[in-house]
């Protein structure tokens, strides 16, 4: 019995059964709805939310909407997706800044939700955007919370206002108040107040939080909640809403395998938007929250938009165009390959990027085990080649290969594998660049338009295999190219009815219909591909 597994795994499983049906009967819908209910409960979505959610989905799934559709299963997927986005707050909301600085942001939440770490992340993020944030240590309760904030502040490179030593000494309300005055004097335009963790049922501490709020009149009160929280999310969120009335939610520890339950519950019960998501241990693992993308994540449709954004950040556009041209004229060399790889590394964790691909939920384990150092090794091999060799790998005879192997500290087999993989990848990319559908060697052809989901799965498989061996990278490139190539498909032929990978196709169509990947984004995407 599959009791574990994430929400997305469960729903994917459910939809798999549904996708084989041509027409939906009431019994089918009921069965699906029951599965959705269970999946949501297993994912810790609160019971009330589940009840209303399943009722709506059932109603819509049985309505005309579905019966008229070409492929009812896809329609159900779309309904679920739309409802999820609806609950998660529809549009993405940005942080509200005060007209007259300083903007005051107060953080509140349960103990261990991750407030202090988040304060650092937020500060760093704001600093990157050209603000001059200041952190305020108003958690005077927990032993050494003040110290922790100071360390975090140092890491983020921002000033920390900590007049009190903490450990139960000092009045947090006064500290917060003084901090705002201090910020005005010292020209900080954002003040982030870290408060003590408190339980929703602790009236006294709740009052203290309310007093801090009153004293500082913050522009944003962010409620930090652990993504792993269970059914209690609802009562906690309600208690905080009544106690301090937060304006937005931050979801922390989203890098674990608990994916969406708390987010759904809190957003739906309090009606407050989720503004940020915190996804890792370092101060950079922090991103604005996109409800539509989260819904896709939950449904395991992947998070293509974020992936593209990150890729765009990492890849120099000009460089990309050059590469595309080279690809088309078959001049793509190991040198370009190396350059691309280095850019890719600039994008941050490969694992994280791969995790955003549709269907990646199922290969979490493999992703975790993928050694990023593989890329470094591949780089070492290429760097041990002479420029001539890099430009023309055909030069590589046995003795040259031996030299390269020695130079990079690898074996000749590794060098051989790299060269072989490079050739395959180059061939594949050529095909993509010319607008064809790539064939992953040994994997068979990728199903046509439905390749949205399918292509990735296959490419992912290729990646999985190779991750054990020397070079995860060419395959990674392939995967990414496939992702980009197929990402462009929804603009053209649209859905893939009846395809074996109907889920992907349907979703792509659905997303297209909703305008999720807008023309603009698609254009950007194609530019990225250099087409």
């Amino acid at each position: 019995m599959a009791t574990f597994g994430t929400l997305s795994d469960r729903l994917t499983e459910t939809f798999k059964n549904l996708r084989t049906k041509g027409k939906l009967s009431a019994a089918d819908v009921d069965g699906t709805v029951r599965e959705i209910r269970r999946a949501l409960l297993d994912a810790d979505v609160s019971l009330d939310v589940v009840k209303s959610f399943t009722a709506t989905v059932r109603e819509r799934a049985l309505g005309d909407e579905v019966n008229r559709a070409l492929n009812p299963a896809q329609q159900v997927v779309q309904i679920v997706n739309e409802e999820l986005v609806g609950i998660l707050g529809g549009q993405q909301r940005r942080l509200q800044f005060a007209k007259n600085p300083p903007t005051v942001i107060m953080l509140a939440g349960l103990q261990g939700a991750g407030k202090t770490t988040l304060a650092g992340k937020l500060a760093k993020w704001l600093k990157k955007d050209g603000h001059t944030p200041m952190l305020v240590a108003a958690d005077l309760q927990r032993p050494n919370a003040v110290n922790q904030l100071q360390v975090v502040g140092e890491q983020a490179g921002v000033q920390v206002f900590a007049p009190e030593p903490g450990n139960g000494v000092g009045d947090p309300v006064r500290v917060a108040k003084d901090a705002v005055a201090h910020a005005q004097r010292a020209q900080h335009d954002v003040v982030i107040i870290d408060t003590a963790g408190r339980l929703g049922v602790d009236a006294e501490l709740m009052k203290q939080a309310a007093n801090i709020r009153k004293a500082t009149n913050p522009d944003e009160v962010l409620f930090v909640i652990d993504a792993m929280i269970g059914q209690d999310a609802v009562s906690t969120a309600k208690a905080f809403q009544e106690g301090v009335d937060f304006t937005g939610v931050v979801l922390s520890k989203l890098d674990g395998d608990a994916r969406g339950g708390a987010a759904l519950s809190v957003a739906s019960v309090t009606g407050r938007p989720i503004i940020f998501a915190s996804t890792g241990e370092t101060l950079d693992d922090f991103e604005p929250f996109h409800p539509d993308r989260m819904a896709s994540r939950i449904l395991d449709l992947g998070d293509i938009l974020t992936l593209i954004e990150q890729a765009q950040q990492a890849f120099d556009e000009e460089e990309a165009l050059k590469v595309a041209e080279k690809l088309a004229t078959e001049q793509f060399t190991l040198e370009d390959f190396l350059k691309q790889m280095q850019q890719l590394r600039g994008a941050g964790s490969l694992k994280k990027m791969l995790g955003m691909l549709p269907g990646a939920g199922g290969m979490k384990q493999q992703l975790e085990n993928f050694d990023e150092r593989e890329i470094v090794r591949t780089e070492a091999i290429i760097q041990s080649m002479t420029p001539a060799e890099r430009r023309n790998p055909k030069l590589l005879n046995g003795s040259r290969r031996l030299r390269i192997a020695k130079g990079s500290g690898m074996t000749v087999t590794d060098v051989n594998q790299l060269v072989q993989r490079f050739e395959q990848a180059a061939k594949m990319m050529k095909t993509v660049a010319r607008g064809g559908v790539p064939q992953v060697p040994g994997m068979g052809p990728i199903p046509g338009a439905g390749g949205y989901g399918g292509g990735k799965r296959q490419a992912a498989k290729a990646k999985k295999k190779s991750s054990g061996s020397r070079s995860g990278n060419p395959a990674k490139r392939a995967a990414e190219n496939a992702a980009l190539a197929s990402g462009a498909t929804p603009a053209g032929p649209g859905g893939a009815s009846g395809s074996g990978f109907g889920l992907g196709g349907g979703a792509a169509a659905g997303a297209g219909a909703k305008g999720a990947p807008s023309e603009e984004e698609l254009a950007a995407l194609q530019k990225l591909l250099g087409r």
Binding site: N144, Q231, D232, D255
Partner: protein, 291 residues
């Protein structure tokens, strides 16, 4: 002291047990109450089915019988495992593990005090060298509890070596109890879980590890199960500590965790005070949970 709401299921179940007779509503309400207490859909279904069967067998219509059955059932399921801590080795080494923010450091502080109350000498090892100021936080707790603390010699030291030094210290000074704090880690991070395995191996070179306690936050939902499984696989967990039971969360997921993993709950934490840690008694827990 502020007034604190009870964390028992009582309020949610009052409707169920207050009714005049057992009908369909009883089952719906019971199911909802259990799910809200994080029992999870599978365990909830099992419990409801069992009680339904019993009600049929005894032909009772009194909802108070349902309450009694529920209490007995929960107690029975909880008491299948032995909650005694095994600390007979000298030194008795206890490794405390868990995901981020569940209250590991706080639990260690309380646990040290708990052991000190029995007159044992205690040393705590600050092997959480990752989180900012975690070492200081632990030191503060150790001071309150009257325990020794072994700190890392330099910033970012390998946690395994801190653990090693702590056990070494205990052996040298004849300290009876060793408690080692580890950095919080999400169970999905392979590398960090391997680090845990390393800490364990390194410590075992010095002395056998008596207990590996996994700290679980009562507010955690069904993800608690995934956490427990991963930590068992990598850390060889021998017992559970349930924290933050002073909130509104019921921690019903521990039933599933206990049964799926066969690990007993050994300690429960119910507050921020240093004395707020007690041993686990199935009877009392079931009583509090069901009311």
């Amino acid at each position: 002291m502020a007034e604190r709401a009870s964390w028992s299921l009582g309020a949610a179940l009052r409707n169920v047990f207050g009714a005049k007779t057992i009908d369909e509503d009883t089952w719906d309400d019971l199911e909802s109450a259990l799910i809200r207490a994080d029992f999870g859909p599978a365990v909830t279904e099992e419990i409801v089915d069992r009680i339904k069967a019993q009600v049929e067998r005894y032909r009772t219509t009194d909802p108070r019988d349902v309450q009694r059955m529920l209490r007995e059932l929960v107690e029975e399921r909880l008491s299948k495992y032995d909650p005694t801590l095994k600390l007979t080795e000298r030194p008795a080494v206890v490794l405390v593990v868990g995901v981020n923010g569940v209250g590991k450091t706080t639990t260690i502080g309380k646990f040290a005090k708990f052991l000190r109350n029995y007159g044992r000498s205690v040393v705590v090892g600050a092997a959480d060298t990752f989180r900012a100021a975690a070492v200081d936080q632990l030191a503060t707790w150790a001071e309150r509890a009257g325990a020794e603390v072994v700190r890392p010699e330099r910033e970012g030291q390998d946690p395994a070596s801190v653990a090693f030094q702590t056990v070494e210290y205990a052996k040298r000074t004849g300290t009876e109890m060793v408690i080692i704090d580890t950095a919080g880690r999400l169970h999905t991070k392979g590398g960090l879980m391997d680090e845990l395995g390393k800490i364990k191996r390194v410590v075992e070179k010095q002395a056998p590890i008596s207990e590996v306690l996994l700290v679980l936050d009562a507010t955690t939902g069904q993800n608690g199960l995934a956490q427990a499984e991963a930590f068992i696989r990598h850390g060889g967990v021998t017992g559970l500590v349930l924290t933050k039971l002073d909130g509104s969360a019921k921690g019903g997921f521990v039933i599933a965790v206990q049964e799926k993993t066969g690990l007993p709950i050994k300690l429960i934490g119910q507050g921020e005070g240093i004395g707020d840690l007690t041993g686990f008694t199935p009877h009392v827990f079931a009583q509090q949970l069901v009311g």
